[in-house]
Chain length 415, copies 2
């Protein structure tokens, strides 16, 4: 019998769509890594009956029930008293928890409030989980071989508790069976096209190897999962199966498993000891933001010039006014010049540039919203590509930045 987990997310703000739940996403993949499968995720509001019902239903479905939210110092937080009620125990002041909260306030140089003091009260007999990043302690409660774990809703507080205490504890207690994932990451190819490319291969997969398509913005991840008893055997089977399909989709692949396109590109630049700079118009810094999200990117990335204004294109990127006059800022000529000139301006080996109409305004008949030019320039060549998106501003910006990184991927190694 496989060990299963259920994640219960508590909070009206999530049901009402005021706050995006990123916690259960993070918890899922963390549990997956220690071979604990999440069977269901349940999100409910801050109401007594519904919370108690969810506890009961989850206890029937899963071995491990992880609860986030409803632990704040404020009056709409119900999780702790209801957990005590569900287990039929009173709340008692936990001296150690009180000390931890007090010292946390001392370090931060803030004065402690009564609501914070109440956070040191815990259900009798529960194991306190120290919260090093915030004031609400976590809780571990057990009965009939079912574990209830309660954590704060603040993401970095929850993550710290999971990483430092809960994941090791859960792995030691419940880790079992064998499961092996391998992810192949593709960019710039639609899911349905990818599906038809590998359809024959997919049909021949044995039953214990399961393929999943994970489409995200502009990318499709192929996840092949093997289930069995022996991880080494599974690992070999999965790798074998993937080796067979690679030739068919090679040109769309940028990486595997946790690789991100921006980090892969960074590794290439580091290996070749080359530097990168960007010149952005429509992406407005988003491209630079993606590149610099990678730890250590300062080793190969020198910066960006976001010329959101034509004057700036002229003054900082030396784009001739006549060129903008003649072809418009959103043109092959201008985006190529931006990519070439940012190389000189920032003294880098490779320049990437974007110029387009993100919308919602600024579109014309011949250049509608979503018309975007991107360019790659190195010491040997300058390549420009025109994109036609039909999406909203945010998506146009994100897709354009991704397309620029993909343009780099397709041209950098071909020298």
């Amino acid at each position: 019998m496989a060990i299963t987990a259920e994640i219960i997310t508590i909070g009206d703000e999530i049901l009402y769509g005021q706050t995006l739940d990123t916690n259960s996403h993070w918890i899922s993949s963390a549990l997956d890594a220690i071979n604990i499968k999440v069977f269901q995720k349940t999100t409910i509001g801050d109401t007594r009956d519904h919370i108690l019902t969810a506890f009961r239903e989850a206890e029937n479905r899963a071995n491990i029930i992880l609860i986030t939210g409803g632990l704040g110092p404020t009056k709409d937080d119900l999780t702790k008293p209801l957990l005590a009620e569900y287990f039929g125990v009173p709340l008692r002041l936990n001296e150690e928890a009180l000390e931890e909260i007090t010292s946390l306030f001392a370090r931060a140089g803030r004065t402690m409030t009564d609501p914070n003091r109440k956070q040191a009260e815990l259900p009798e007999g529960c194991l306190k989980i120290t919260n090093r990043m915030g004031t609400a302690p976590g809780m571990w409660m057990e009965r009939d071989n079912r574990v209830f774990i309660s954590m704060p809703g603040v993401p970095y507080e929850m993550k710290n508790m999971m990483q430092e205490v809960l994941l090791p504890k859960l792995a030691a207690r419940f880790g079992q069976g064998a499961i092996f994932h391998k992810i192949v990451r593709t960019v710039g190819v639609p899911e349905s096209h990818l599906a038809s490319l590998i359809s024959d291969w997919e049909d021949q997969l044995p039953a214990h190897l399961k393929l999943a398509y994970l489409p995200s913005m502009g990318q499709v991840k192929l996840r092949l999962t093997g289930y069995g008893d022996n991880e080494q055997v599974l690992k070999q089977e999965v790798h074998e199966a993937i080796k067979q399909v690679l030739p068919v989709i090679k040109k769309h692949i940028y990486g595997y498993d946790e690789d991100e396109l921006e980090s892969v590109i960074g590794q290439w630049l580091k290996q070749q000891n080359k530097t990168l700079g960007t010149a952005e118009s429509c992406t407005g810094g988003h491209l630079a933001g993606m590149i610099t999200s990678v730890p250590g990117s300062s080793a190969y990335y020198k910066g960006t010039i976001v010329s959101y204004d034509n004057e700036v294109k002229e003054s900082l990127l030396d784009v001739p006014a006549e060129m903008i006059e003649k072809h418009g800022a959103v043109s092959e000529e201008v985006v190529k010049t931006m990519a070439e000139n940012v190389r000189k301006k920032l003294k880098v080996d490779v320049g990437l540039a974007t110029s387009g109409i993100a919308g919602p305004d600024g579109g014309t008949v011949e250049k509608p919203v979503g018309t975007i030019w991107i360019a790659y320039a190195d010491d040997k060549k300058t390549i420009a590509k025109k994109l036609n998106f039909t999406k909203d501003r945010k998506l146009n910006i994100q897709f354009s930045a991704l397309a620029a990184l993909n343009l780099f991927r397709l041209n950098f190694l071909s020298n």
Copy 2:
């Protein structure tokens, strides 16, 4: 009896934590706006029994069941056949759906695949919902005054269906009762501090006015919700209640309801006909990305210089090499110079600058990871602020960009 909805999200990729579910978040707030409350969100995997069980349980809990995912052209998509099975009807080719899919491929100039053709098969008697952004049609199925709605998992396809067809249809069919939200948005004040500031006021709220704290990165939204029959009365009561608490928290408030800090700042700049430019080091373009995420920001935002490299600080921002030598790039002197010089370089009225150590590497004893300087400069003054974060790279970057916008908020209007 209030009309309630349940959102069922189907997909192993979400249970395994490979893909973040943003759909249910968006759907929740869209339904909230037409007074339909989401009672529960349930996320389950791509397994026959669990999907059928979830359908049955949801039908007992809610009037409207919205299902996302499992409609792709690929083999791991089960929603459509199981919906047909649950309603006891066969799948039939829908000619109109086939036409829509065919013309979509024609427009995109792509060739249609067999999996795509199968997407035109729908459960008998279901209402087809046109998908203008993709190939999988949506479905509306009804029995015993319960509505099942199935939508693709691709966010922009789902949103387009909801906005153009489903929300109007649901509002016409189920819209009822009265509910009124007002959100007060604060930045730079911790939830517990805010809670103790307004505790007395909160205690005096009548039972039908419910306050919720919605903490997000560096911000806390206060949402006051009124429940009743007459929206006008509720609206007045909510506004009255909020008017009483404003004086206590005024200096922390940047906006209301859907206001975003970056858009509020944009409105101020437009009103005063002023322009903004930024010089970023540790935020690496993230600050520019936030500012340019606002439609129409090109009217007041001229650009950013991301000087990720000290050379670039010197060459593009005229930061004296000696200054960097003497005080280090992460210093009050350098960040002030960056803010002042970007004003001249980009010919803008206000300059914002960031320089810090985002981590994970680059920290020292006197300047640990999370040490960040931000600066504001206009024609009258230059203000710098030191931040000490203890978070990871991503959070340090996001908090720093937010703090820079808050620094603008606190100084721009005070002239």
